[in-house]
């Protein structure tokens, strides 16, 4: 099968920004183009979860082509809620693998801080099932129910769960693009306000502005997109069966098969920790640890930046920030920097294979991507 390679990546600072969404997308795109030696892209794919509502702007495809001086080039939008970033990479990879295009620019971003939190929470919650929306539930409420279920089933304590954000903030302190760059301790996490019991503010990814971009090419570079997997699950949490997130499990199986890699061959991972509990569940769903044991690896330090299998060395969604449409590509940018040896201030030693896992909806539409240094 023909493969795709990463030629360039770009990543704006995440956090509260003065820039509007289109300016953020433009910045990320220019950074990715500068980072690549591709003379001209022949397609643009833009992504955002909800630009129409949160940023009040539409027709992103044309706007980007226009503003980048690429008017005339094919340009379209991909939307897969908070999984838009990885879906952009998937679309660009498929476009290149098909032979239809040789160099594709994929850009994802979100402008989330313009609206007050209750409005943003409502808009983000539109990805949920109608029955969940009708009850007044938000993304963190579903995270809370999943957290309680896991804690009671597998004996995870509230204190150990707090180690996810503590690790995230320690890592984010080394990432100059991160929304939060300050370490926190377990007490700080456990004394933050309750959002949805048992999850507190520090268990949740923040509301952030930002954008990230990649250039995908058919020409060999130093980073191969070795496997791309994508799966879905029933939209309502009550309708799902089995443990963990099926959408991730399906995506991971495809990505591993395409890449010809097993979980033992993964050197580090960027996982979708929109809520602390998700990092643990994700790490099991992608097969890095057996079911119910992800938290033990966390507790033992295996997933810390100096551990055997570092997870979210970028700071993850928690600390890097979570401009929903940008996140999947920000994860990819981190993996590329690590594989190239360019992760200034947080470079891991001797890494060859990196994995990203990105969630759309509340775990209903997920992607796993495996990248390899070649």
């Amino acid at each position: 099968m023909p493969t795709g390679y990463l030629a360039g990546v770009g990543h704006t600072p995440f956090g509260r920004s003065e820039l509007d969404l289109v300016a953020l997308l433009e910045d990320a795109a220019l950074l990715a183009l500068e980072d690549s030696d591709v003379p001209k892209v022949d397609a643009i794919i833009v992504g955002s979860q909800t630009s129409d509502e949160l940023a009040e702007v539409a027709n992103l495809g044309t706007r980007l082509a226009d503003i980048l001086g690429l008017s005339g080039v094919a340009s379209w939008r991909v939307e897969n809620s908070s999984g838009s970033g990885s879906a952009l990479l998937e679309a660009a990879t498929l476009a290149v693998r098909s032979g239809a295009y040789s160099n594709v620019l994929a850009v994802g971003g979100e402008k989330m801080t313009d609206k007050p939190t209750p409005v943003t929470a409502k808009v983000l919650g539109r990805v949920l099932a109608d029955t969940e929306i009708a009850l007044g539930l938000t993304m963190p409420s579903l995270g809370a129910m999943v957290a309680r279920m896991y804690m009671e089933r597998y004996g995870l304590s509230r204190e150990t769960l707090a180690m996810v954000p503590v690790k995230a903030h320690a890592n984010g302190a080394r990432n100059h693009l991160a929304h939060f760059q300050k370490p926190v301790d377990v007490d700080k996490v456990l004394s933050s306000p309750m959002v949805a019991d048992p999850l507190r503010v520090f268990d949740c990814a923040p509301i952030s502005d930002g954008a990230a971009a990649v250039v995908v090419t058919s020409r060999r570079t130093d980073v191969e997109i070795a496997g791309v997997g994508h799966g879905t699950d029933r939209i309502a949490l009550a309708d799902r069966r089995g443990d963990g997130l099926r959408a991730t499990q399906l995506a991971a199986a495809i990505a591993y098969k395409e890449a010809g890699v097993t979980p033992a061959g993964v050197d580090f991972a960027e996982l979708h920790d929109a809520f602390s509990i998700l990092e643990i569940i994700d790490s099991e769903d992608v097969g890095l640890f057996p079911r119910g044991e992800g938290w033990k690896a966390l507790e033992a330090g295996t997933t810390s930046r100096d551990g055997e299998l570092p997870i979210n060395v970028s700071g993850g969604l928690k600390s890097r920030g979570h401009p929903v449409g940008a996140t999947g590509l920000a994860q990819v940018a981190e993996v590329v920097w690590q594989l190239r040896g360019q992760a200034e201030g947080r470079q891991l030693d001797d890494v060859h294979v990196g994995l990203t896992q990105n969630i759309g909806g509340f775990g209903s539409n997920n992607l796993v991507t495996i990248m390899r240094r070649v």
């Binding site: 209750p118 929470a121 009708a134 279920m149 959002v195 009550a238 309708d239």
Partner: protein
């Protein structure tokens, strides 16, 4: 109390609230009124609520004795493993009530 569910005979799947087609196999689902008895498998109290709602909101995920699961609002404090009764409401949502009867009666 009781509620309506839909059943897919091929997938042996029970879903609440009811829907017309099975999400796995697209076959038409059979709609049935079942008893609301069940057990709480997880729950939360939401403190930061979306625009248009009032905090706090208590909700629980109930595994029905009749099969399937339903997410419902509650006015009573919940605990995992607690036996409860679920009532289907006119607006299509559900409410969790204290179990004050012998289940299934």
């Amino acid at each position: 109390m009781s509620l309506e569910v839909s059943i897919c005979d091929s997938c042996e799947e029970v879903l609440a609230p009811p829907r017309l087609k099975c999400p796995e196999c697209r076959k038409e689902m059979r709609i049935e009124e079942v008893d609301g008895a069940g057990v709480i498998i997880t729950h939360t109290t939401v403190h930061i609520v979306p625009e248009g709602f009032q905090a706090p909101i208590m909700v629980g995920l109930v595994k029905l004795d009749a099969g399937g699961q339903v997410l419902a609002r509650s006015d009573i404090e919940l605990e995992t493993g607690m036996r409860v009764d679920v009532e289907g409401l006119e607006d299509g949502t559900h409410r969790i009530l204290k179990m004050d009867r012998v289940s299934g009666s």
